[in-house]
Every structure is written in structure tokens, then in C-alpha cells.
Amino acid sequence: MGFRRTGVIGVDELARRGLLPPPERLARGPAAVAECPEEIPCNVCESSCPSGAISVDGLRGMPKIDWDRCTGCGVCVGACPGLAIFVVDLSRDPALVTIPHEFLPRPEKGREVSLLSRDGRKVGRGRVVRVFEANKTLVVTVEVPRELAMEVRAIWVD
């Protein structure tokens, strides 16, 4: 469990825990990815999902996403108190990643922003294509080079 030492979780670790959608699903369109590997007593994502695609075992458990039901709308991204849910869309080039964002200045649609990896490295730049707000959390969809779609998990307006 290296992530408990580093604060950074690897894609392989997410896959091992069943937290990643199958590649063919990702290629079909936007799908939510919950990077929530511990059993937190929380089910906010479950109650927020308009498609009934997320289930949490009681109050406690990792979110289980039914990717056939998930439409990739991003509502859970703005609802998750741990800011741990993202939406990845590999049906396009560049890919789209939807990210929770709680910093000023607010990223506006059309703006180029820095793309940050899970360990805070600037790995590229991308254009913001959609922004909406959920109780002060901005849900920002940004264009990301396809090969970085599983790496980029934050943006910075600079």
C-alpha cells in the first residue's frame, strides 16, 4: 500500500481494486473514476448520482460504479467530499478529463491551463471546455493528450 506513504496512487493499484473502467468502456465515452481506495464512512457519491450508477456498501465501502449506467455527467465529481472522483473520456482526441477545482482564479471556458499529475508535476497544458459549480467546487472539463488521460488529476490557472 505505497499510497499511504506517498499520497499518490498508481493506475495499477486502482485497477487492482476494481476502481478503473475497462478500456473498451473508456473508449466508448465519458466514465467516472473514483480514486477512493479506503473504506470511508461516506456515501455522498451514491446519493448524488442522477443515473443510480454508484453504490456504496452501506455507509462504508469503496464506491462501486456501474459503468453501463454511468453517463459521465460529472455530478459526482462536484459532490465527492474527498475530491476523489474524475471523469475520463477517451472517445476523443484530445481526451477529456473532468476535475474538481477549488482555487482562484476561476478557470473560464476556453482558457489554457496547466495540467498536473497526481504528484503535482506540470505535465502539459490543455484547454478548458466546460465548467460548472457544485456548492463552491468547480467541476472543470479540460482537454488532455490521450496518453496523459490517466495521469492528469488537477489543473492550475497560471
Binding site: 506513504r5 499520497g7 455507509l59 467530499p81
Partner: protein, 470 residues
């Protein structure tokens, strides 16, 4: 004079009152109504509260629990700057030497009011609010007191969204939960006395309380003590320098008063408090140099750590602080990895430029009032320190005296709310008898509490709770 106030923030809007001027050691200080003296001083870049025995000293807790901010206000000694609202013309003076207490001045005491209530709740944090709401909704007369001029306890400075289910306010931000609970308490008819200190318990079930305007002699049928906790201090050279403070103190400054506590912070402790405060510092525009954690693993939830790492903040596990240095206030900190014996490896030490060292190394239950009342209190490391024995309904060794929230052992806000609800219902059952509806609701709350205590942090808490069960 520098201005450390935050004028735009991604989550918060700061509603500042009228501009006023007060005096600190003769220097005029601009402030806004709604700020405390301590917050206004920090907002103006003043961090030295007094010249102490070993040098300049600043503020540690910011929430009225410690005595680092004692000042003389309008001639009255030993006033907590962190609890004193600014007013036009206030004269505030440092206390380099400890001034003597003033002689008894019984002719100037504010008027005394006798309060007779069913349930008296001490402390209006999440536990106290839920306790008061539960008892009042059962039809009882409830008085809730808090020494701060706001209700909500430490919820008022929590800007992150809470875990939980909808029923436990999951998804709402802490300060939003505080607003909601205060509204519910008032709607339920709870009498809330703010800026009121419960300063002593006396035989015959009397609690003496005082606000600046009035004294109270309160009698009750049941009492709930939900007095919270205070932040733990840490021993290292330089720990008295201004800029070394509790992580919660920095949170109070930036999230309650909209004041940046500094420019660049080192956080000591990667539990949930350290991780959350570090993220909130970034939101307030304060740089975070690093979070150091003496254990080999991060203490808090992974998702809180991940939030921080994404913005490039290093979390150094197996590291600790060795020393804080600076002239007048913190200018740098020395950190080092620790060996298997937890001692710092000084040959590998390095310095970190920072003007803030924030200690997030745990909390200590504030159970002093219960001790004074004669409740059996024992030292339980797993619960953070001195805690009262209690049964599963939160009744202490004294019948009719209940504990709720962190005063009974350090957990978090959701469990505080649940123990508050249980204590409030227990008080109602004591006064009204075991009405089936009250008993059913209490069992329901006990079930939810049990569910919340099945996390990775619970094992230790449950071990502690086993030691205080009666």
C-alpha cells in the same frame, strides 16, 4: 502596516463589519467589527503578543483554550485576545510580567440571573448543538452556552465538505453545517447564551456562568458537557517563537476571520487535521513548504493527502521537526528523517524557509469541568488524554451528567454529532422517562455511531472506549 486579510477566496465570503481603530501598546490598529483582537493583530502583521522569559511570544490556539494570548484590555488583566471582539477605542496592552489580579470588585459585577432549566449544555460545537436539539425536540427546556461569540464550535472554520450520508450532513461544508444546526436549535426553542463562560460547578447542581453583561446561576435536571478539545503542543527548540501555532489556530485565522496566518508554512503531522489545513492554506494563498509526519505512513485519509500532492506539496513521512529558528518570529525550520527509534538523524537534517510552523500532532480532550464535578476521569492515550468513564448512553459516573463529543475522547465531527444526539436523548429520557419514541431514536443513533466506528482509525478509538466503559 501590512494587511494579511484575504479579500477573495474560492469558498468563503468574509462579511466584515464597521471599520474601527483600537490601540495595541499605544499603536493604533485598524480592524473590522466581527474580528477578535488577536485576529486583527495578525491581520496587521503583528505576531508578538508579549516579550516572554525566553523571547517574543505569539498565539498558539486562537480558540480560547490556552493562555498564550492573555493581554490587558481597558485595564482588565488576563483577557484572551483570541476571544475579545474589537471595538472602537479599545486599549490593549501586552503583559510582559504577570500583572496581579484586580481586587474583588463586587460593586461593579454585572447583574445576576437565575436560570432554571431541564437540560444545560456546556459548549455549542457539533456535539453540544446536536445534544441541545435532541433534548429540545423532545419537548424539554434547554439552555446551551458557549464562551465564543458564535455557535458552531470548530465547525465554523471547516471549509471542506464532510464525509457521511445525507442524514449526517455528508457533502455539506463544516461552516454550512454549523449554520444549519444553530438555526435548528433556535427553531427547537433552545436558549443559546454566547460569550458566556461556565466558570465553576457548585454542590447542589449549580453551574455559575458569566458573560460581559450578565452573570448566571444555572440549575438543571440534566447536564451535558461538550467542551471539546485543545491542540497538543510539541517540544522542540524555538517552539515559543511567534509563528509556531496549532494548525487549528491557523485555520481559525484564515477561515473564520479571513486572515492569512503567514506566507509559507511547514505542517507537522499528516493526520486529517494537518492534511486538511495544508490544503486550506493553499486555498487562502499561503504556500505550503511540506507536511512532515514522524510515522512511516500518512495518518489521515488517503484522499486528503492526494488532494495536497496534486498541487505539488511534499508529504515527508518518517520526518520530524528538530528546531524552529528566527529573530522575532519563525524564519526557518530544521527538519530531519527519523531512525527506527523515532529519533531525528541530525546528520541528515535540512532547513526549510517558512514563517509558520503549524502543529497538527493531536488533540487533548477538555474534560476539566467534569473533573471539577467529581466525575471519574481516567487517562486514556487512545482517546487523547483525560476522559470520563461513561456508559453507552454517554452518562458519566455521576447520574444525570453526560459527556458528548471530543470532551469524551478525540474522534471527529460526525461521531461528535452522534454522541451529542445520544447524550441529548439520554437527558430527555432521564427527565421524561423512557418514552418509546426517545428510546427508539437513541438506539438508531447508537447504530449509526457503531457504523461510523468501523473505519481504519476506529480500532484505536474502540480500544480506548473499552477502557472507559461503565
Amino acid at each position: 502596516m501590512p494587511d494579511f486579510r484575504i479579500w477573495s477566496h474560492p469558498i468563503l465570503e468574509f462579511k466584515r463589519g464597521r471599520k474601527v481603530t483600537f490601540y495595541f501598546n499605544g499603536t493604533p490598529i485598524s480592524a473590522f467589527e466581527g474580528e477578535t483582537v488577536a485576529a486583527a493583530l495578525y491581520a496587521s502583521g503583528i505576531r508578538v503578543i508579549r516579550e516572554g522569559a525566553v523571547g517574543p511570544e505569539g498565539v498558539f490556539c486562537m480558540i480560547g483554550k490556552c493562555s498564550t494570548c492573555l493581554v490587558t484590555v481597558n485595564g482588565v488583566p488576563h483577557v484572551r485576545a483570541c476571544r475579545e471582539p474589537v471595538r472602537e477605542g479599545l486599549v490593549v496592552e501586552s503583559e510582559p510580567d504577570r500583572p496581579p489580579l484586580p481586587p474583588a470588585f463586587s460593586d461593579t459585577l454585572p447583574p445576576l440571573e437565575r436560570v432554571d432549566t431541564d437540560v444545560l449544555v456546556i459548549g455549542a460545537g457539533p456535539a453540544g448543538l446536536l445534544a441541545a436539539i435532541s433534548a429540545a425536540e423532545a419537548g424539554l427546556d434547554v439552555v446551551l452556552v458557549d464562551e465564543h461569540f458564535k455557535a458552531g464550535g470548530q465547525l465554523v472554520k471547516q471549509t471542506h465538505k464532510f464525509f457521511g450520508s445525507g442524514e449526517l450532513f455528508g457533502g455539506l461544508r463544516g461552516f454550512q453545517i454549523a449554520e444549519l444546526l444553530e438555526k435548528r436549535a433556535r427553531e427547537a426553542g433552545v436558549r443559546i447564551l454566547l460569550r458566556t463562560v461556565a466558570y465553576g460547578w457548585f454542590r447542589g447542581n449549580v453551574v455559575m456562568m458569566a458573560s460581559p453583561e450578565r452573570r448566571y446561576e444555572a440549575r438543571y435536571k440534566a447536564i451535558i458537557v461538550s467542551t471539546g478539545a485543545h491542540e497538543r503542543f510539541l517540544a522542540f527548540p524555538g517552539n515559543t517563537l511567534p509563528g509556531v501555532m496549532g494548525a487549528g489556530a491557523a485555520q481559525t485565522l484564515m477561515n473564520e476571520y479571513g486572515v492569512r496566518p503567514g506566507r509559507r508554512a511547514l505542517i507537522v503531522g499528516a493526520g486529517n487535521v494537518g492534511l486538511i489545513v495544508a490544503y486550506q492554506l493553499l486555498q487562502a494563498g499561503v504556500e505550503v513548504a511540506a507536511v512532515v509526519e514522524i510515522m512511516r505512513e500518512i495518518g489521515g485519509w488517503f484522499v486528503h493527502a492526494a488532494k495536497l500532492r496534486r498541487y505539488g506539496v511534499p508529504i515527508l513521512t518518517g520526518h520530524t521537526i528538530v528546531e524552529a529558528r528566527g529573530k522575532g518570529w519563525v524564519e526557518e525550520a530544521v527538519i530531519a528523517p527519523v531512525g527506527d527509534d523515532m529519533r531525528p538523524l541530525l546528520e541528515k537534517a535540512r532547513t526549510v524557509k517558512c514563517d509558520l510552523v503549524l502543529l497538527a500532532v493531536g488533540l487533548v480532550p477538555d474534560s476539566r469541568l467534569l473533573s471539577e464535578m467529581g466525575a471519574d476521569v481516567v487517562w486514556v492515550p487512545e482517546l487523547g488524554g483525560p476522559v470520563p468513564l461513561r456508559d453507552r448512553y454517554m452518562e458519566t459516573s455521576i447520574p444525570g451528567v453526560y459527556v458528548a463529543g471530543d470532551a469524551g475522547g478525540i474522534e471527529e465531527a460526525t461521531t461528535a454529532m452522534l454522541t451529542g444526539r445520544i447524550a441529548g436523548l439520554s437527558a430527555a429520557i432521564r427527565v421524561l422517562g423512557p418514552r418509546p419514541e426517545l428510546v427508539r431514536r437513541r438506539e438508531e443513533a447508537l447504530g449509526m455511531l457503531e457504523e461510523c466506528r468501523r473505519t481504519r482509525f476506529s480500532e484505536r478509538v474502540l480500544r480506548g472506549l473499552a477502557k472507559v466503559a461503565r
